[in-house]
């Protein structure tokens, strides 16, 4: 088991020798790889154990699951068939999902995954593919099926990995943020954007509320799911239209609070990594972090050991998450 940044030459050699890989990289790099047992999503931002956070279009980040997966299957879904993603999962193993940002599948998964049949019955982890921030609006995020050499801009790719007897996969998250002491916010409709919010039950315009209260939109909304804290990150405020946009949907019936302020984002994030999870580095198979944490924590050049991986446009741990580190462990049982 290993996660590491590697040259295209090294990656090509690993693929040719039959390694089973989950890759992340810029599309120009991924386009140059040979066919083989791999899937990939586009993103050029990474956090490595050697150099810390960095951006590169020349190398790819590889998660090698050859030694833990007895078999794997790669399957493409569209926004409708994606509802079978839990039911289709392996009996003992995990499913790894990659979805291009802003695709129909991304929107559909974000809104509907919690209601998919058999939700939570199979460990489902993955991330949302993106682009270099300089390429926003110029290039589209893509996901690659290495077995066929094809890529998708719409839809999702899922790698189902079967583990040998005596092994078990488990997903965890690390969230820097906690609910603040402020108002309880609920939303009249589920969606990626809203004009209205119920502030302690009173209907208000959400954009005006955020501006009037000078709330820092680098801090997400935080919901408490039976002790698991789930963030919704702000994409922007349109004061003229009175609309607020998010990077993940808010859901009706869920109570949100604006996150407690974080005085030293980078230091606190590093501290949380050390204290929040009691994992054995040898069990760690995969992790990824949010591009917003990469930017707001100024993680370029900084390490987040034992975690490394791509910095993504969204994280998936059973459902879409924001500003969260997600990780996959494989235990001996």
């Amino acid at each position: 088991m290993s996660q590491q940044l590697m040259s295209l030459e090294t990656a090509s050699t690993a693929i040719a020798s039959g390694r089973k890989l989950i890759l992340a990289g810029d599309e120009q790099a991924l386009n140059r790889l040979p066919k083989g047992s791999w899937i990939a999503g586009t993103i050029p931002y990474f956090i490595t154990n050697e150099q810390g956070g960095l951006s590169t279009r020349e190398q790819v980040f590889a998660t090698d699951i050859t030694d833990i997966a007895t078999s794997l299957e790669i399957k493409a879904y569209d926004q409708n068939s994606l509802s079978h993603v839990y039911s289709d999962g392996p009996d003992n193993g995990f499913s790894f999902i990659l979805i291009p940002a802003m695709s129909k599948a991304h929107l559909s998964f974000a809104l509907n995954a919690p209601n998919y049949k058999d939700f939570g019955t199979v460990p489902l982890i993955g991330w949302i593919a993106g682009v270099h921030l300089d390429d926003l609006g110029k290039r589209t995020p893509k996901v690659y099926n290495g077995q066929t050499g094809e890529f998708l801009e719409e839809g999702a790719l899922v790698l189902s990995a079967t583990l040998p007897p005596g092994k078990a996969a488990e997903i965890g998250i690390v969230n820097l943020f906690e609910q603040g002491e402020g108002d309880t916010l609920t939303f009249p409709e589920t969606g990626f954007a809203t004009k209205d919010v119920l502030v302690n039950g009173e209907r208000r315009n959400f954009a005006a509320y955020l501006v009037k209260n000078r709330l820092d939109t680098k801090l997400p909304l935080v919901a408490d799911y039976y002790g698991a804290l789930v963030n919704i990150s702000f994409q922007g405020i349109d004061e003229a239209d009175g609309e607020v946009k998010f990077y993940a949907p808010v859901f009706t019936g869920i109570r949100y609070k604006h996150a407690r302020p974080v005085p030293d984002y980078a230091a606190q994030f590093t501290g949380k990594l050390c204290s929040a999870c009691n994992i054995q580095p040898a069990n760690l198979v995969f992790s990824c972090n949010c591009i917003l944490n990469y930017l707001y924590s100024e993680l370029e050049g900084k390490k987040t050991e034992p975690f490394s991986g791509p910095a993504t446009f969204g994280e998936i741990a059973y459902q879409l998450l924001n500003q969260t580190l997600v990780y996959l462990e494989v235990h001996e049982i």
């Binding site: 003992n92 919690p114 058999d118 939700f119 939570g120 019955t121 199979v122 460990p123 078990a168 996969a169 488990e170 997903i171 965890g172 998250i173 919901a223 408490d224 799911y225 039976y226 002790g227 698991a228 789930v230 019936g253 869920i254 741990a317 059973y318 459902q319 235990h331 049982i333």
Partner: protein
């Protein structure tokens, strides 16, 4: 430990939020975050049964995972 039957009262207490536990298994926590709120608004017998079925399935299909075993001990003793 093996999975207690769906008829065990503890399943109902968990999904309705009557009893709150500090659980470890992430999938169960995310699911319960929704179920407890939904069932507090409409605790009809059919809804409670559907909620128990969902939670039971999540634990049953992951019963080999260490955090699931820990949760079962927390809930059922």
């Amino acid at each position: 430990m093996s999975l207690p039957a769906k008829s065990s009262k503890q399943w109902q207490d968990v999904v309705t939020g009557k009893k709150a536990y500090e659980l470890k298994f992430l999938a169960a926590k995310i699911l319960l975050g929704r179920l407890t709120r939904s069932l507090s608004e409409n605790p009809s017998p059919d809804n409670v049964k559907a909620g128990i079925d969902q939670l039971y399935d999540v634990y049953a299909k992951n019963s080999h995972i260490p955090s699931v075993q820990d949760d079962l001990k927390t809930i059922f003793g």
